[in-house]
């Protein structure tokens, strides 16, 4: 990071960044057209509706990981925190009958609190976020399962499921608007607010940021709190889809969220080294992955090989991004 402070990109690098997002849009459009022409069901209103719903959840999961990657770290416990938030929501709604305006913020606050635990452990111990969140993933999930005895909460307020089933013009799920709105807020955070800029600075070069007055430790904790809250949002969206809060919703230990959590941001150009973010890229990246998964299923291309394709896509994306950055560097602009 030489002439480009924080995430502000000078004109030439902006062009490069733009090309990544533009590339994603082009891919989404191309694949979409191909799937629509080649399969009878892809372009049906029902399929696009369910695709949009799933994509919205994956996008949110991607955001939840993105805000931690920005700080140069990892959060393996996104799934675990998400499920804990969901179960907290279920518990408050079903056991105490509290209304939505109370339970939703409470669940998100709980997610943020768990994120804060992660953040504090990481900052205080100085250890890599990988091992800390690997451990907390186990602890959070295990405690949740132990407390709830792995029972699901199935008597939730009907508005929750109703929201998930809403369908505008037959094609669009309101969940997409939620993800888009959160995306806009995040973009504003990083572009316009001092907190956001501090996050980028601390992620890019913690030592330099500390010297220039940024409270790096506190900033990292904020990143993890934000990640926890966003994981909670994703989990609530997932509940809206099924109408029940189920402990296995994100797989064992919440592991099932790991791949979508990384795919979106990495495809979208958020560097794992931190300090650089592309909210639009993460949005488009997750959307592309959801679209490809849906389309491949339509082709009946052995649903079991799906993971292989996703892994190959991740690999291709990372290598292409590497090549792109090398090219940009050679052209003289800062990466």
């Amino acid at each position: 990071m030489t002439s480009a402070p924080y995430g502000w990109a000078p004109a030439s690098a902006a062009r490069a960044a733009l090309s990544n997002e533009f590339g994603l849009v082009a891919l989404i459009a191309l694949f979409g057209a191909w799937f629509a022409l080649a399969t009878p069901g892809f372009a049906s209103s029902f399929n696009l509706f369910t695709l949009g719903r799933i994509a919205a959840i994956d996008i949110m999961i991607g955001f939840s990981m993105m805000v931690v990657i920005v700080s140069g770290g990892l959060n393996l416990s996104v799934g675990a925190i998400g499920v804990c938030s969901a179960m907290a929501f279920g518990w408050l709604s079903q056991r105490f009958g509290l209304p939505l305006p109370l339970t939703i913020p409470a669940a998100l606050a709980f997610g943020a609190a768990l994120g804060a635990v992660n953040g504090q452990l990481i900052v205080r111990s100085g250890l890599h976020s990988f091992i800390i969140t690997l451990a907390t993933m186990s602890v959070f999930f295990g405690l949740m399962v132990f407390i709830t005895r792995a029972e699901a909460f199935r008597s939730l307020p009907s508005q929750v499921l109703a929201f998930g089933r809403l369908r505008y013009f037959g094609y669009v799920s309101p969940l997409i608007f939620v993800s888009a709105a959160v995306g806009l807020l995040l973009a504003a955070l990083y572009r316009l607010t001092p907190v956001g800029r501090e996050m980028l600075a601390a992620g890019a070069n913690p030592a330099a940021a500390e010297l220039s007055g940024v409270r790096v430790g506190r900033t990292f904790v904020f990143c993890h709190m934000l990640s926890g809250a966003l994981a909670g949002v994703a989990a609530l969206m997932s509940i809206a889809r099924t109408g029940a809060a189920i402990p296995s919703m994100a797989g064992d230990l919440g592991q099932d969220w790991l791949l979508p959590a990384f795919l979106g941001p990495v495809l979208g150009g958020t560097l794992l080294s931190g300090g650089r973010v592309s909210v639009a890229g993460a949005f488009l990246g997750s959307a592309l992955v959801s679209e490809l998964t849906n389309g491949l299923l339509q082709f009946r291309v052995g649903e079991f090989w799906l993971q292989t394709y996703l892994g190959l896509m991740l690999l291709a994306a990372v290598l292409l991004d590497l090549a792109r950055r090398k090219l940009v560097a050679r052209l003289g602009a800062s990466p």
């Binding site: 069901g41 029902f46 399929n47 199935r154 889809r241 296995s248 082709f299 190959l312």
Partner: protein, 343 residues
């Protein structure tokens, strides 16, 4: 990458062609048999679907499995299958309530759904639930175990996934059978969520290593624990501990013949798939479910049809296929008359 692109294009071309041909037969019933996840119990559904397609001239009766035992995976698969043109569904619910939302979406789009081998919680838009009365099966199995134990002793109960709607029914049923002995028999341990080889092996082995002398009987109400427990008893050479298993895995059947296991509660996955496909086809051809049909009422639903269960001990093991086929034939014979109103 290019090679993948070419193969994808090839698949697309085939799909286009296939889409062309299926477009002509849009009225044919295309059944999708969808379990909750990969599991040996449902492999009978695949054959059942093939036979049903042949016997009833269906457009399709395909066995499609979600990648793992996870509700969101199953829901995504169901949604995709609807978009792919399937118009009738036999579904094992990934969750008795959580699956209802997706089932409702299927029925709203004109596809009849039968909950199979596991029930959805009412209210549900599924036509009815067709499966083993798992509570009753577990109850009968436990009673057989108690008989084999001589009417007294301590029982360990190994059962299936906690997300399986049947698990709690089974736990309650075993408890009920034990209670009826007025204290002579007690359930000292329930180990659930072990319907997969590794957790089953780990937990059952650990349990037997620690507590083999503290129990007199084992009842297993899920496929994998039955296999693992049978193997474990064989490995430690134990014939003192009585055991009643479930389903028809080769390992369990052989253990019954060799005396390590007393018997097994057979279920009827083939019958569920075969008769279920038939029923869906009749529904699509205009039949309606009789409101006053002689449904059974169980914990989750009032519209339950029993697909049959039978206890097979040493004598009956060799002909278990015959027993199940007899039950299937019997149910099939009277099905339409008993449960459907047809034009």
């Amino acid at each position: 990458m290019p090679r993948k692109l070419i193969s994808l294009l090839a698949v697309a071309a085939v799909a286009l062609a296939a889409a062309g041909t299926t477009a002509e037969a849009t009225d044919a019933t295309r059944v999708a048999l969808v379990p909750g996840g990969p599991h040996p119990y449902f492999s009978a559904w695949e054959k059942a679907g093939e036979d049903a397609k042949k016997d009833f001239n269906l457009g399709a009766a395909d066995y499609r499995v979600p990648q793992k035992w996870e509700l969101n995976q199953q829901n995504s698969l169901l949604e995709s299958l609807l978009s792919q043109g399937y118009n009738a569904f036999l579904v094992f619910p990934g969750d008795p309530v959580g699956s209802n939302a997706t089932v409702q979406e299927l029925t709203e789009n004109g596809a009849p759904v039968i909950a199979t081998a596991g029930c959805l919680k009412e209210p549900t838009t599924a036509l009815f639930c067709f499966g083993t009365d798992t509570g009753n099966s577990a109850y009968l199995g436990t009673k057989q175990l108690i008989k084999a134990m001589g009417g007294k002793g301590r029982i360990a109960h190994f059962t299936g996934f906690l997300v399986d709607p049947n698990t709690q029914l089974r736990i309650d049923a075993v408890e009920k059978a034990a209670k009826e002995t007025n204290g002579a028999v007690s359930v000292v341990q329930v180990i659930a969520d072990i319907d997969a080889p590794e957790p089953a092996e780990e937990k059952i082995n650990a349990f037997l290593a620690a507590h083999a002398n503290d129990i007199d009987g084992i009842v297993t109400t899920a496929w994998v624990p039955a296999v693992v427990a049978a193997n474990a008893l064989r490995r430690i050479g134990d014939k003192r501990i009585r055991m009643v298993g479930i389903d028809h895995d080769e390992v369990v059947l052989k253990a019954i013949k060799d005396g390590f296991v007393d018997g097994t509660m057979l279920q009827n996955p083939y019958g569920q798939g075969y008769i279920g496909s038939y029923a869906l086809d009749r529904i699509r051809k205009g039949c309606k479910v009789k409101q006053d049909a002689p449904f059974k009422a169980i914990a989750l639903t009032n519209r339950f049809i029993d697909s049959g269960t039978v206890y097979a001990d040493k004598g009956a093991v060799d002909n278990y296929v015959g027993s199940m086929q007899a039950i299937t034939k019997q149910i099939f014979g009277g099905f339409e008359k008993t449960y459907l109103d047809c034009p």
